[in-house]
């Protein structure tokens, strides 16, 4: 029996900190985004100020819109495509930034550089007044604290049975999520994350005005996936410049011919490979171009000039 996935109450900060996934097995199995703070999210409920949406992609038969939801702790992208017609209509309907409640599926996209980007694929969007926003935010903060408390208890007594935590009122799914979080993020500073929640609490208490973007809080999660950034790269050689130029030429050509205005990454790599620019060297050229801000990849596998 496949029960409906509950909507985890999370802040933007928690979504930003989530870098681990659990892919379901089998047909139509659900996949989950695991946060360091005991959320095992397929579906989420978030609230904050939703910016006017912008279209991504130029293919008119496949509209896709993106907006940014900012809550007092951070921000997360909210998207909707033709498979979420109602949510998409709602996203498009708003000309200005307004408070909203969003229910949707949590998505993690990991770029080639290993950096994860979390977004929420909206299923339901409702623009609300400030009171409703604060009420939902209160629910989010309360459940976040409930999960943090559960994490602390499990971390203190890892050998206690799930049932005994359940007897204290924690749903089995929460205990499972908490254990998985502890396993996947063994060195998380939960106190720092608690501090990150304070602006949300101030909002619940009635601090008005659009939530200020967080003053780049110290990261509560440190997950080292790559060696520390290499020292500044020497200026590209003439040969490298030539490769980049070949790369861009083909990108432009493919983008020109394509229906949606993007260059398909696979096609591009195949094309430059046939020009003798293969494998690592093509990837290197692409990452240099991305770093320099010449090329961007707004949709997985689709490139365009920035």
């Amino acid at each position: 029996m496949a029960l409906r996935e509950p909507a985890w109450r999370v802040t933007a900060r928690e979504l930003e900190s989530s870098l681990e996934e659990e892919k379901g097995e089998g047909d139509r199995a659900a996949s989950y985004l695991l946060s360091p703070f005991a959320a095992r999210m397929n579906r989420v409920l978030v609230t904050g100020t939703l910016s006017p949406a912008e279209p991504i992609g130029r293919d008119e038969t496949q509209p896709f819109w993106r907006s940014r939801l900012t809550d007092p702790t951070g921000a997360v992208a909210v998207t909707a495509g033709s498979f979420q017609p109602r949510a998409m209509a709602q996203l498009r309907s708003s000309p200005a930034a307004r408070p909203a409640i969003v229910v949707g599926k949590a998505h993690l996209y990991r770029g080639r550089d290993g950096v994860g980007y979390v977004s929420v694929r909206a299923e339901g969007v409702r623009f609300v007044g400030e009171t409703d926003e604060r009420a939902v935010l209160a629910d989010i903060v309360r459940q976040t604290l409930d999960r943090l408390d559960l994490l602390d208890r499990i971390a203190r007594e890892p050998d206690r049975s799930d049932e005994s935590f359940g007897a204290e009122g924690s749903p089995r799914s929460w205990v499972r999520a908490a254990r998985e979080s502890l396993r996947r993020y063994p060195n998380v500073d939960r106190e720092a994350f608690r501090r990150d929640l304070r602006p949300a609490l101030r909002r619940v208490a009635g601090d008005s005005g659009p939530p200020a973007p967080p003053a780049t809080p110290p990261p509560s999660v440190t997950v080292t996936r790559l060696p520390v950034a290499a020292p500044a790269r020497p200026a590209p050689t003439a040969a490298e410049r030539a490769e980049e130029s070949t790369f861009l030429d083909h990108l432009d050509e493919i983008a020109e011919a394509s229906a949606d205005g993007y260059a398909d990454l696979k096609e591009l790599l195949a094309r430059v490979a046939s020009q003798g620019l293969a494998g690592d060297r093509a990837e290197a050229a692409l990452s240099r171009l991305e770093e320099e801000g010449v090329v961007e990849e707004p949709i997985v596998g689709k490139l365009r000039r920035a």
């Binding site: 409906r4 509950p6 009420a135 749903p171 089995r172 208490a205």
Partner: protein, 388 residues
């Protein structure tokens, strides 16, 4: 040693002690229900009459099958003595069969085993599950009301309600009038538990007995009907319940919601002018909303009827029909409901049943919850610590 040829003495057993075995048994029981039919043998198309039903002796009730039964003389309530009945297991429950070797005769009430009331074990409501019988319970009548139903050709009154002890609550369906009233504490024996539309139900009939008791330990009806909400995860674990209370946020709306048409006879939803049971009918317009309520631990469906839908939506059935005339697109109404209810906090009480898609609540009440933001901020501030 028994002499050659003479049969071994057959022990008379109580139905409670019946176990599948190769040797035939003797038993006495009352026919509780029966049905006659004919079985056609495949090989030669010959027809054999068959009578099957339920037999009870006060200790248990078992299914019985009687091959080539007498044409008449069997009624509900007839007491039979069967010598040489065969006992088999069907789905782990014993069943008896009367064959040509079985001698079946009439018996009287005095032949039924005497069941001392003290012998019957006490059970808690929570421990009951279908097809339990032969138990006693002490419960509070939380609510009860008569309802007229049609059983075959017959119109009968069934007293439906809710019974509860400290362990839980169970639906009541009594085919006999015990004069039950809400608030009473009663000791019940001679009932049985069956599953009806996914719910466990305690069934009472003329063989059941109901005695008023003090019941000081039993919960008051208000304790059952006004229980504080529990997490949806708990309701999912329990597979629903008779008096469920939950609180959550509306995160979606399931079809069919909005303006629907119902069969005037059975109130089923009519699709393309056709009722599933009554065929082509003139559907009656109605409003409904199938709300997805989510509290972060789980999600369930709340089937809101017309009154609740009108109240939550702020649009009456008449207004909805007027809108439909202006813009003939039913899905616009559904969208309008979703836009009104999404993100709203509701407290819902009612009966919860479970199917493959999860728990559905048929609500007794749906109340919007206003969050006290000051209190919430104070409580969360205390938990978060460290000042603001």
């Amino acid at each position: 040693m028994t002499a050659e040829g003479s049969p071994a003495p057959v022990p008379e057993v109580r139905l409670r002690d019946l176990r599948p075995s190769v040797s035939p048994v003797e038993l006495v029981g009352r026919v509780v229900a029966f049905d006659r039919r004919e079985v056609v043998r495949k090989s030669d198309q010959s027809r054999r009459p068959l009578l099957s039903g339920l037999l009870s002796d006060g200790t248990a009730t078992v299914r019985f099958t009687w091959w080539d039964p007498p044409r008449e003389g069997i009624e509900r309530g007839t007491i039979l003595r069967a010598v040489g009945a065969e006992v088999r297991a069907f789905r782990d429950r014993p069943e008896v069969t009367f064959t040509w070797r079985t001698r079946v005769g009439a018996a009287g009430p005095g032949d039924l085993p005497r069941v001392d009331a003290d012998e019957i074990p006490f059970r808690t409501v929570e421990s009951l599950s279908p097809p339990d019988e032969g138990f006693r319970i002490e419960v509070r009548v939380v609510r009860v009301a008569p309802r007229t139903v049609t059983v075959g050709e017959e119109r009968r009154i069934v007293h439906e309600g809710l019974l509860a002890d400290r362990s839980g609550a169970i639906a009541l369906s009594s085919w006999s009038d015990f004069g039950l009233a809400a608030g009473e504490a009663v000791r019940i024996s001679g009932g049985y538990v069956r599953r009806f539309r996914g719910r466990s139900q305690l069934v009472l009939d003329e063989r059941s007995s109901v005695v008023r008791v003090e019941g000081n330990d039993l919960p008051r009806p208000s304790e059952i009907l006004e229980r504080p909400p529990v997490t949806i995860a708990r309701v999912e674990d329990a597979g629903g319940g008779e008096a469920v209370a939950v609180e959550g946020i509306v995160v979606g709306l399931l079809p069919p919601s909005g303006l629907v048409y119902r069969c005037p006879t059975c109130a089923r939803t009519v699709k393309s002018g056709l009722c599933r049971v009554h065929g082509q009918v003139e559907g009656r317009a109605d409003l409904r909303a199938r709300l997805v309520l989510d509290d972060g631990t789980g999600a369930l469906t709340v089937n809101a009827g017309r009154a609740d839908t009108e109240r939550l939506w702020g649009v009456t059935l008449e207004e909805a029909r007027r809108r439909l005339r202006d813009q003939p697109d039913v899905s616009l109404l559904e969208e309008s409901i979703l836009e009104t209810v999404l993100g709203r906090r509701l407290r819902v009480r009612g009966v919860g049943t479970q199917d493959d898609f999860g728990v559905t609540i048929t609500p007794d009440s749906i109340e919007p919850v206003d969050v006290d933001l000051d209190a919430a901020a104070a409580e969360l501030g205390a938990r978060l610590g460290g000042g603001r």
